[in-house]
Amino acid sequence: MANEFKLPTLGEDVQSGTITKVLVSPGDSVSADQPVLELETDKAVLEVPSTVSGTVEEIRAQEGQTISVGDTVFLYTGGGEGDGGKAAAAAAPAAQEEEQKEEASASGQKEQQPAPSSKEETKDEAKEDAKQAKEPPARKDARSKAEAPPAASAQDKDNGSERKAAPRRSGPVPAPPSVRRLAREIGVDIHEVPGSGPQGRISAEDVKSYARQVNTDVRGMGSAGRAAPLISLPDFSRWGDTERSTLGSVRRRTAENMSVAWTAPMVTQFDKVDVTELEKLRKRYGKQVEAAGGKLTVTAMIVKVLGAALKKFPQFNSSLDMDNDELIYKRYYNVGVAVDTDRGLLVPVLRDVDTKSITEICVELSGIAARARERKLSLEEMQGGTFTVSNLGGIGGTGFTPIVNAPEVAILGIARASVEPVYQEDGRFEPRTMLPLALTYDHRVIDGADGARFVRFVADVLEQPFLLFLEA
């Protein structure tokens, strides 16, 4: 009896990808969490772990093919003897194993006897429990009246923990068991899937397209993202040679996101910061941070300052929910840092910057930027940002107008610092190192005056770092 392993949801941003490598072949044993595909998605190259264990019967996915969540990857026959004795033990939490041992020795038993057949068969050790442990937590079904007539309904159970996440529907979902199973297999909460059928009936197709759409919806921008500019292209070859090259996934993704972002009315506020003193500090303490494994950069220092700024101006750390007429304030401060890679622009996210020291931020930033360039970023590392910084100063330019990284509502651009003659109060000009900042914000959420205050706050703190202690 062959089962299908379908591409599970891999994070909210992944709807489909191009298969760069199939890591299993027919006849192989697979176990839960074992990588079975290498998938190039919009943002990263990922390994797709199996969520099932068994023996691969037939591969349905081919290299080079585009595959979507819910599509069949391979057929397998389950469990099998291939994952002999160690299976359970491999995955049971360590603490538990120890308890096991105690129990076993108490009863005068050897903890674990190897399976007589395990020699030939354990070439792949299933980790079923590891996967099972991820499944929804226990629901209690503690109705205990014995001779009550056979209570028929499963409603009680429906109120169990599994369903709590879904406030949308209370009763049974209008979806047949096969569709509910598909949803479970690919990691979609069936309660959240809108049904396209009469009276909201949910089909298998609905589940799949929901899985694909999740991200677009989250971005709250509806279909605007996909809409390409309605310009019909002329035949460029009339004027000379051309060459067509396919958009890489990162480029395509960037193009889509930018189109979405562009639909928001944005304003860019400029300012200049005197970083002469800061530069001295940076030089003085650079070695110390280097010893810790990072590089003390202006970006890192600004990220630190942003932690305080976002707390002081919470609307800059929000997102707009137009459908519900609400502004969503986030109580975490995760700053995305734009990184230029050979595949295009990537934005890894530094989490909880408000709680980290500058040194910690430097170390983390060095690591994450390097991983971005080596294409090793995981999806999680690119999700959950609340504000973005883009520093083009390393390349040059006196200023630019960054575009907000929707659904965030503001972005800070940093251009190249330069030494300028600055007029002093005593009438002299003094050479000072000036850093140009450009804050772009979503004008639906943020007013101009607040925009100016926000940049000014960042600038003040950079000029007088002691303010950070006063403020934060």
Partner: protein, 482 residues
């Protein structure tokens, strides 16, 4: 013992939970060992539950129908009952079924061990055979399916050859002249029906205010009305105060609303007031399995216990204590062990009371909707309007649908009437598929059948909802509309 015996999946208990799990695990390519104290699998369901009781209920039905043929002008002599032959036939049915299961195990290469198993630790079972010999079995996973047993009579009243639990009642040693059935739940009513058809004068006492407490009152009423002339008495809000041995019988004192002061004499007393999970004596203290106060095993959606190596299914995990629920859980547990993403999450578990008439229901019922404050739209179709019911001279039935008032999705179905047990499957399918009343109403049902009543009930639902299906002509005045 030189080499330790081991298995990928051990299943303790060969009832409908255990053997369904064994077959599923076997289908999924796992190495399975099934253990039960009986010679063959079958469990309570086959040996002393569903199957023998249904065999007797079939006989009861023949007897009743023969008597009722008088309505059509056909008269039979009073039937002669050969109790020995009756028991024999029932035993043959049981043997055929359990033997068949044993055979299936063999042909599927499922190892079957006859013996009593208990845990030495989470992954070691010790099995005691009939002859006292023990063997030890190492397991990767164990599915616990030891089922339930009637609450011991000794705990309740007294032990006496005249006292019966359901198991003893199915032995049918004799047909008592006077039988008291304690408990108006489904088992008491089914067995009471059997004895009444055989000629016993049956008195039923139930401490709640209704038979089948928990079921919707309109369904119960259909059964109650027909039972009344069929049995001696039905005493509600009444319980047993004491039972004493008396000369030639048992003297029973009842208490409650309808009880008389002086004790009444019965030849036998059948007690059906509850079942206990078989969760003790299995060595669970040597594992991490946790129990509720009632002794039920706590499990998650995959039927995994608090011990990662042990699953539990069937009566052991609680209500509804029904064979088909046990089997479904067995399949889920096996799938989970095989590494599949699976969960026990039915939208409807059917319940059937095989009395005459039968009462069956599934999904959300009115009583529950009321208790939980769920808004529902209900349609009822009395069988007086059914041609088929008329040809059977059984017009007392009732079919009802419980639907979502906004979407008309069918959430529950209730049927009381002859053949309800067979009819309810359509209801279960409708609920599981998320069908709307329109779906069912616009599915052609054969005429004349009792199944049509389900279609007609659905018609009543959307017939009223003018805003949804306007193209439809105004609903005819359905005879059954209330």
């Amino acid at each position: 013992m030189t080499e330790q015996a081991r298995t990928r999946v051990a299943i303790i208990g060969g009832g409908p939970g255990g053997y369904a799990a064994a077959f599923m695990a076997n289908d999924l390519g796992l190495d399975v060992t099934l253990i039960d104290v009986e010679k063959n699998p079958g469990g309570v369901c086959l040996y002393r539950g569903c199957i023998p009781s249904k065999a007797f209920l079939h006989v009861a039905r023949i007897l009743t129908e023969a008597r009722e043929a008088a309505y059509w002008g056909i008269a039979f002599d009073e039937p002669k009952v050969d109790l020995n032959r009756l028991r024999e036939s029932k035993d043959e049915v049981v043997k055929r079924m359990t033997g068949g299961l044993g055979q299936l195990c063999k042909s599927r290469k499922i190892k079957y061990i006859q013996g009593r198993a208990s845990f030495e630790d989470s992954r070691t079972l010790s099995i005691i055979h009939d002859d006292g010999a023990t063997e030890r079995l190492e397991t990767d996973y164990t599915i616990l399916a030891t089922g339930s047993r009637p609450t011991p009579l000794s705990e309740l009243f007294l032990e006496s050859p005249r006292m019966m639990d359901s198991t003893a009642a199915l032995q049918m040693e004799d047909i008592p002249r006077n039988l008291l059935v304690v408990g108006g739940g489904y088992i008491g009513l089914e067995l009471g029906t059997v004895y009444a058809a055989m000629g016993s004068k049956v008195t039923i006492v139930e401490k709640e205010s209704t038979l089948l407490p928990g079921a919707d009152p309109d369904l119960v009423e259909v059964l109650h009305k027909r039972l009344e002339p069929f049995v001696e008495r039905i005493l509600l809000n009444t319980s047993v105060a004491s039972i004493k041995e008396a000369r030639g019988g048992l003297a029973v004192t009842l208490e409650g609303k309808e009880a008389e002061n002086k004790p009444a004499q019965f030849d036998r007393v059948l007690v059906c007031i509850g079942r206990r999970p078989n969760s003790s004596g299995v060595g669970l203290k040597n594992t991490r399995v946790s129990l509720t106060d009632g002794g039920l095993v706590e499990v998650d959606a995959q039927r995994r216990t608090k011990d990662p190596y042990i699953y539990a299914i069937g009566d052991l995990t609680g209500e509804p204590m029904l064979a088909h629920k046990a089997s479904h859980e067995g399949r889920v547990a096996a799938e989970s062990i095989a590494g599949q993403r699976t969960a026990f999450e039915p939208n409807a578990i059917p319940a059937v009371v095989f009395t005459d008439p039968e009462v069956a229901w599934c999904g959300l019922m009115e009583k529950e909707a009321e208790a939980k404050g769920i808004e529902v739209k209900v349609a009822r179709f009395p069988w007086a309007a059914s041609g088929r019911a008329a040809t059977l001279n059984r017009p007392e039935g009732l079919t009802k649908l419980i639907t979502d008032p906004d979407t008309e999705q069918i959430l529950g179905v209730g049927i009381a009437g002859t053949g309800a047990g067979e009819l309810i499957s359509e209801g279960v399918l409708a609920v599981e598929m998320g069908a709307t009343a329109y779906d069912v109403g616009f599915t052609i049902h054969p005429h004349p059948t009792l199944g049509e009543t389900i279609m007609e009930t659905a018609d009543l639902i959307f017939g009223h909802a003018a805003h949804v299906h306007q193209s439809r002509p105004e609903p005819r005045e359905a005879a059954g509309k209330e």
